[in-house]
Structures are given as C-alpha cells and as structure tokens.
Symmetry: C2
Subunit: 308 residues, 2 copies
C-alpha cells in the first residue's frame, strides 16, 4: 500500500479493466433529438430517471444523440448495453452495428425491431379508451393535436400524406387508437410536446366559425393539452363548458393547477426502471422479455358534454 502510494498508483485504470473484463459498466442511452428537446419532455425525463434508479451506483449512463449519421460516436464509444429512447427507422443502421457487436439493446417505446427488447405502452388501446370517453359524452366534431410524426419540427395540418410517411410509432399508435373511435379524425401535427406548441395548435384549430369549430380536442400529450386549454382561454372559451380537452401522459405540470386534466396516466418512471432492469438482466446473461405497460384513465374536469 505504501509502495503503491509512493509510485502514485490510484486504483486500476478503467480502460484496461474494461478491456480485460469486457465490461465497462456503462449503458448507452440513445436519444434521437438534441438534448434540449428530448429532456424538455417530462416523460422522457422521468424514464431517464427510472433508468438511473435501476442501474444504481455501479454504472453510468452515456448520453448519445443519434442525429444524422451519428455512427461515429456509437461505433467508437465504450458501453455494454444500449437503451433507445424511442425507436424509429432512422436507427436501423445503428441497431445493425450493435447487433454485430453483440451489444444488448432495449428500446423504450417505438417501433419493434428484431433483436431489440421492447418496453412499451398500450398507446393505441389507451388512446382508444380516452377517445371513447369523449365519444360517450356525445362529441362528434372532434379534432386532435398529435405529437410530431416524423423528424420535421413544425406545426402543420394533419394529412394522410404525413401519416403515410410517419416514423414515430408512439404518435402513430395514439392516432390510430383515436381513429378507432373517430374514423375521420382530423387535426394538426404539433412541432413538439410543449404547452407553447399546444397553444399554437389550439389557436389554429379553434379559430373558425362556431359551427365548424370542434367541441372536443384530443391532445397526444398533457403539455399539448395544457396549451390547447390556454388557447381556449385566450379565445374566451370555457373548458369544459364550451370545449372538451383531454391529454395523454398524466404529467405533473408546473403552474397548471386551475384544472385537473382528463388524461391517460402512463407509468413513465416505471418504463425507465423496466428498461434498466432489462439491461441489467441481459448483461447478467439472464433471459429477459418485452415489457408492456398499461395506462390508467384519470378523469379530471376538462371533459364535459357537448355544449348547447
């Protein structure tokens, strides 16, 4: 020990250790967007927190943004397992590389991929359930505000063309669920999941003649729903008297306490924990299987019968 101190030796070199053991204790977390956008979403953040809870002390999370080619980092970085936050076709190449490297992969939400363990939510079923609630209240003029369907980040009207070229499984599933109840459901695609984008989307949907204006709006996230409610307020519409708004996520939203949002509550932290646990199991050589979570309907006070 004294000799070690004299020689200025301070513990094993992580690099050498990881080479020899074939383990680094690092789990790669791959996000598709840039950091700022990804982590603004409370669900993503909660999932990340869940992952870190489950991985615990022994291991760190390596944040990799899979923008553009992005392979450089993914190919050269040291990590034992990968967790994808959302899984779109853009990742095909990255997934191929990891498969060849024999790196276990887990995806939280998103398209199913061969060799990638899926931690998913009953998006379609949950969207259908809450749409059914709105339907049962008697609404027929219904519109939706969807999360981004592809890489483009801008507000635009929902078109079949966009749907056909959509890559974000979550948004697609939730849209399909809503359309199971309202087959002709139309609306807008939001630029991102934020209340400001929801506000913009809400204004777009709600400015129009009273007779054509929707009486209910299905937002694909709570942040969007909050924005829509703010839009309604700006236009002098009362919620839920004049307009029914429902969300999705069950997020606790800062500074939004006047209403109790009617929404589908999803276990975001648990999704992260499940992903972390799956990764741990896979690394230990134990078998692991897909995990699917169910959302719970939370009746708030933002949905009511058709006005008039």
């Amino acid at each position: 020990m004294t000799a070690a101190r004299e020689l200025n030796y301070f513990g094993p070199d992580p690099r050498a250790r990881s080479l020899r053991q074939g383990r680094s204790g690092i789990v790669g977390v791959i996000i598709e967007d840039r950091v700022l956008n990804s982590f603004r979403d409370p669900m993503t953040l909660a999932a990340l927190d869940g992952i870190s809870q489950e991985l615990g002390e022994g291991s760190g999370m390596l944040l990799l943004t899979a923008v553009g080619d992005g392979e450089s980092t993914i190919q050269s970085a040291v990590f034992d397992a990968a967790i994808f936050m959302g899984c779109s076709p853009h990742l095909a190449r990255s997934i191929e590389i990891m498969r060849q490297r024999n790196i276990p992969m887990v995806a939280i939400e998103g398209q199913a991929f061969d060799g990638v363990l899926a931690v998913s939510l009953d998006n379609r079923e949950a969207a259908r359930r809450i749409a059914q609630v709105v339907h049962d209240l008697g609404h027929t003029r219904v519109a939706t505000v969807t999360l981004p369907l592809d890489a483009l980040r801008s507000l635009r009207p929902l078109s079949e063309e966009i749907v056909a070229g959509a890559t974000t499984a979550v948004s697609i599933d939730r849209l399909e669920g809503a359309r199971d109840v309202f087959p002709d459901l139309d609306g807008v695609v939001a630029a991102s999941s934020s209340s400001d984008d929801g506000l913009e989307a809400g204004l777009r949907l709600l400015t129009g003649s009273v007779s054509s204006r929707p009486t209910a709006i299905l937002a694909q996230s709570d942040l969007l729903a909050v924005g829509v409610i703010r839009a309604a307020e700006q236009l002098g519409l009362a919620v839920p008297a004049d307009l029914t708004v429902v969300g999705f996520d069950g997020a606790r939203i800062e500074g939004f306490s006047d209403y109790q949002l009617t929404t589908m509550k999803q276990p975001a932290t648990e999704k992260g924990r499940a992903a972390g646990a799956a990764v741990t199991a896979l690394l230990a050589g134990e078998p692991a299987s897909d995990v699917s979570f169910a959302s719970v309907l939370r009746m708030g006070n933002t949905a009511g019968p058709v006005p008039g």
Copy 2:
C-alpha cells in the same frame, strides 16, 4: 475486407482502442442531485445542451450522479475529462481522485476548487444589480426566496444558521449580492427551483398582516418568481401594483405569458458551450482559463414602485 467480413470483424473494439490511445472520447458530466431534479431546472438543461453542442459528434456525455459516496462509478468509469454541474464541498473527494488520475476538470458554477477550471456567472454582482433596481423603486420591506442552500430539500425560513452551513455557492452568492443592497434581507429557502415551490414560498411570505407583508420579493430563480406571482394572485394581490417580484435566470417558461418577468438574464447555453470548449482545449493539451459570464438586466413588468 472480405476476409474481415468472413471473420465477423466489425471495426476496432472501443475498449482496446481506448486503452491503447489513452482516450475514450467520453466526457463525464457530474450532477449532484438525481437526474429528475437536476434536469427539471431549465438552466441546467440549457447548459447540458450547450456542452453537447460543443463536444459535437466525436464524443459522448457520461452522466454520473455524485450522490452519497458515489465514488464507485467515478472511479471505475471510463472518461477523459469531467464537467461538474455545480461544485460543492461534497465533491472534494471525487475531485481528489480525478486530480490524481490527471483528468482535466471543469465546473459550471459553484465553489472554486484547486485544479478545477471554473465557468461562472457574476452571481453576486447580478443579484446586487437587480436588488438595486428594487431598492431604487423605494422598497424597504423586502424578502427573498432562495434556491436550496444545502443538500436538504425542504421549505424553511432563512436563518443565519443555515447560511453559515450553506454549501451551494450559487445561492450564497446571490444572497450576498442581494444583502449588499438590503443588509438585513430575510426570507425563506425553497425546496427546489420550481414554480410549485415558489408558490409555496410565496404563500408563506405573503400571509401576514398587511403592514408587515413585504412589498417586494427577490426570487433567486425565474421559476421561483413565477410561483411567487401565482401565490400573489391567489391572495388577491396584483403584480406589480401591490407586490414587486423579480427573478433570476431569464428562462423561457412554459405557459407563463401574462407577465414579462423582471429578471437578470444569464447565458446558460453559453456556459455549457464554454465548458465544452474548455474541456476540448484541455484534452488537446492547450491551455485554458476560467471563464466568467455576465448577466443582463431585463426590465419586465413585474416590478413597480412601493404601493400606497
């Protein structure tokens, strides 16, 4: 190439490569709190985004939570340089380890540490400036809502005992700056930087007799200020007619557009970029020096003259 393919060889092994080269292309980002709490703060998130911008493709960010002993991960993880998000005495041991390992370190905000490059803000000076604005408006009954001063996360009255045992440099500096103008400044310590905690703090400060109630509140973050304004609204106080509220940060806050907050705007993303650039320089063997940023006063409409 064909031979390589036949042998199932897919590029160099990152572990071996990092051992030989002594470089891994990974930068450790050390946060003191758990993920969920750290990244809820828009300033921290912006800084993280700035870091990732600057590091660019070649390298990833390894998220390390330095909770408790936490050394296990810090000691065993592979990374070339470290960026601390806030730098408190709790990190002394971790810093010691890295220094011995010869790992360059950069700290965004926080206490100065030997061998740790500082990227900092003019917290004290900025706090003094905005306090002066409030002072010049004639306010004398002034209170503050500070960010957490230590590891304890709960709302409590500001006491000299707490100040004496404080570890969070940012909060201390901002408090001192405010006290440069209002020497006897009193108030409460918030549980965290959120509008909900600000609301709670605001309610605590504003419920009392009209004669003893403060006419101005200096919040140490914009989120806290927003909460205080919501508290004022709940109590039927108009801002800024009945109560002046100023913040700190210059954050864009979701769903808060009724007011334009009077605050000190700080360049959060730039802080992150500076940290990233410093790390890059240090790794390249180039010299780098401390960076200090200045905040800019943004006059909004939440500060006004003393009522009555």
